[in-house]
């Protein structure tokens, strides 16, 4: 499924149903993914590896040099 949009949320502001369904912690940063073609929502807790690990879960970074 293709990632169409991403939002940030706090686990503490989400309903218990959502926390249970997506196995989320009671506190912390959550990424809400909107996925096509079914317009599904996925809730993902950001863990110790942070944003980098989340992104790597979407595929390796491409090989390219970044210079100023």
């Amino acid at each position: 499924m293709t990632l169409k949009n991403v939002r940030l949320a706090r686990a503490e502001n989400l309903s218990q149903e959502i926390r249970k369904e997506f196995n989320l912690p009671s506190q912390g940063l959550i990424i809400i993914e909107s996925l096509n073609p079914n317009l599904k929502q996925h809730f993902i807790a950001i863990k110790e590896g942070g944003i980098r690990e989340y992104l790597k879960g979407k595929g390796d970074f491409l090989e390219a040099d970044i210079t100023d």
Partner: protein
């Protein structure tokens, strides 16, 4: 209202495949911390457009969706003759500071000294992390009613 602008080396640490030094780890934590702050108040991350164009070469489509959904990509200084990323960040920080307070995170804080004032500050990753921790503590002990006020106090008036 705070806008956080990460510099090139901060973003490189987030998307490079083989960076594992302790200082890179701090840069990544600084970026994660800034993203976390976005969920706690009126705090935005702005990625300068020339920088994002370079970053894009490392990203697949899902990565790009992530960056363009969550962060403000500012192309104001793109295509301006003789502007590199540092000059572009300085120009955007000045412009942005007319409406919001601005924090630049960079290892090379001297590059931005000339534009720092009451509304623009530049911190290294360890400085930024220390100040955020301080602000969180002040908010926790109720010195400030919101985390954002606490952040403004430690970033701009400490």
């Amino acid at each position: 209202m705070i806008t956080i602008i990460p510099s090139l080396e901060i973003m490189k640490a987030v998307v490079d495949n083989n960076i594992s030094s302790p200082s890179s780890q701090l840069r990544r934590i600084a970026f994660d911390t800034a993203t976390n702050l976005m969920s706690l108040g009126d705090i935005q991350i702005l990625i300068e457009g020339i920088l994002y164009d370079k970053l894009k070469h490392k990203l697949n489509d899902d990565h790009k969706t992530f960056f363009t959904s969550l962060y403000r990509i500012d192309n104001s200084a793109k295509d301006v003759t003789d502007y590199d990323i540092t000059k572009a960040i300085k120009w955007i920080a000045n412009s942005e500071s007319n409406s919001r307070r601005v924090v630049i995170i960079s290892e090379n804080i001297k590059d931005y000294e000339s534009i720092c004032n009451d509304s623009i500050k530049c911190f290294s990753p360890p400085q930024f992390l220390g100040l955020v921790e301080k602000a969180q503590h002040y908010y926790k002990v109720k010195m400030f009613s919101t985390l954002e006020d606490s952040l403004i106090a430690v970033f701009f008036f400490d």
